[in-house]
């Protein structure tokens, strides 16, 4: 079980939990503003872009090349950017705080 907090562009903070799936799926299921996941998680749309809390970056890890290439074109990219469809939920992510990019 991992509890994950999403901070959205309107400043709201929502904590939700899951045991499996991707962080994007968790966001979509809980109607987190700015997590659309249009392509369903195949890394083709970048509508699930989040900034990872820098202190927790090691929990999540760096993106693969295909994800990185996608992020490169996003206006709001930071060194802590990830596409949440590519973050698989596991217990290590418990307590993770993500700021939604959109």
């Amino acid at each position: 079980m991992a509890k994950i907090t999403f901070i959205t562009s309107d400043g709201n903070s929502t904590t939700v939990e899951a045991t499996s799936g991707s962080v994007m799926e968790l966001g979509v299921q809980n109607k987190i503003k700015g997590i659309d996941g249009d392509c369903g998680g195949v890394c083709s749309c970048a509508t699930c872009h989040v900034h990872v809390n820098p202190a927790q970056w090691d929990k999540v890890g760096s993106p693969l090349e295909i994800e990185n290439d996608m992020l490169e074109f996003d206006e709001n990219v930071s060194e802590y950017s990830r596409l949440s469809c590519q973050i698989k939920i596991n217990e290590k992510l418990d307590g993770l705080v993500l700021t939604v990019a959109k």
Binding site: V42, S44, I66, F73
Partner: protein, 386 residues
């Protein structure tokens, strides 16, 4: 070669110089072919413009001579593009609502039942065009009977059998939209026409011309493309009954299967842009005021990005395809199209045991250096019940 195969005519040029040349009505186009270059150009909307003065020039074949209304938000660049897009996004995300999906399910289920009840069926006219038209009534939120008129227009809004651009056919659509907007002005309803006419951007009401631009885009952009993706899906599953069985056995691959079929089919081959300054693409000099195109179909077969790019891999997990475009101007109708595919594949897997292609006539786009199959002009198929 199987009848459903869509080959990649761009490989040699993509892996060599990286671009191709196309003479479109004496207005040359440099076709950008590689995945990375295509995404770079799509991202750079300042140098590669959509919203220039010449309306219709970014479309290939160019519609400069047959259209005076600017398609919105497609032929508008930021920052104004964002105002229009923000206004439209909520409406075009309605396919995510359960009630919309229930109605779309009914439409698709009825069409599949009809196909199963016939000895054989010509899929382009009798299946895909019907499906696309009836589904569009949901997107516009207009009475379902409107679809009968749209179906009577035939498979192409702009194209006829003998010429690529047909202004008479285009005028049928433009006059129809004008008329529908006049009706909405007199009697506002909860349809897209009325919603647009009641909307404001930065305190200014949307004009009838702007609303017309949105409606033309909605009709034209989603017609051939949806018809091709539906027809090509039917042909693919006819040729690959084990893939249909796989959808039954592994329903969890539905999403990756949809994205993969859309990548493989790439129903819109390319989209143009007008170059605003002297620049380079693939180390090739491009002059200001000339045209480039981003060839989505070529980018989606780029082996540097997609392993086994010419194969349909239904469970392809990483699939950064650009079939819905890329960047600012990505496809407004993508949510609707994905729902159509989701329900179509679900119903086919549930009801259809197999399909057999009886005969077909391919639809080939002639692009000077390249001949690309986009789908079928006709395809006769026998549907077999489970």
């Amino acid at each position: 070669m199987e009848k459903s195969t869509i080959s990649d005519p761009f490989k040699e040029a993509r892996e060599g110089k990286g671009f191709g040349k196309l003479n479109d009505q004496n207005d040359l186009v440099t076709m950008v072919l590689g995945h990375k270059d295509v995404r770079k150009c799509a991202h750079n909307w300042k140098t590669f413009q959509s919203g220039g003065e010449e309306i219709g020039r970014i479309v290939i074949p160019s519609e400069v001579h047959i259209r005076e209304t600017r398609q919105i938000p497609f032929e508008v660049d930021p920052p104004k593009h964002k105002d229009y897009r923000d206004l439209l996004d909520t409406w075009f995300k309605r396919p995510l609502e359960a009630a919309y999906q229930d109605r779309l399910y009914q439409i698709i289920n009825d069409i599949v039942d009809e196909a199963l009840s016939k000895k054989t069926i010509e899929v382009v006219e009798e299946f895909s065009l019907k499906l696309q038209s009836r589904a569009l009534t949901l997107l516009l939120n207009v009475p379902s009977k409107e679809a009968d008129l749209w179906i009577s227009w035939g498979t192409h809004v702009f194209r006829s059998e003998d010429k690529a651009l047909d202004s008479d056919k285009a005028n049928i659509l433009y006059d129809y939209i004008d008329n529908q907007l006049d009706i909405a002005i007199k009697n506002s309803k909860n349809d897209l026409y009325s919603i647009l006419l009641a909307s404001e951007i930065n305190g200014k009401k949307i004009s009838k011309e702007e609303a017309k631009g949105v409606m033309i885009l909605t009709f034209a952009g989603g017609r051939d493309t949806v018809i091709n993706v539906v027809t090509n899906s039917i042909a693919y599953f006819a040729d690959h009954p084990t893939s249909l069985q796989r959808l039954r056995d592994e329903p969890e691959i539905l999403n990756t299967a949809i994205e993969e079929l859309i990548r493989y089919f790439s129903p819109l081959t390319q989209m143009g842009r007008v170059v605003t300054e002297d620049t380079h693409v693939c180390e090739h000099a491009i002059k200001a005021q000339s045209r480039i195109s981003m060839c989505w179909a070529s980018a989606n077969r780029d082996e540097r990005v997609f392993e086994n790019a010419n194969e349909v891999v239904l469970d392809r997990k990483l699939n950064p395809h650009v079939a819905f475009g890329f960047g600012t101007h990505n496809c407004l109708g993508a949510t609707h199209t994905r729902q159509i595919m989701k329900i179509l594949l679900t119903v086919l897997a549930h009801k259809v045991k197999s399909m057999k292609i009886i005969n077909c006539e391919e639809n080939i786009e002639n692009l000077d250096e390249f001949d690309r199959k986009v789908g079928f002009k006709k395809i006769q198929i026998k549907f077999n019940k489970r």
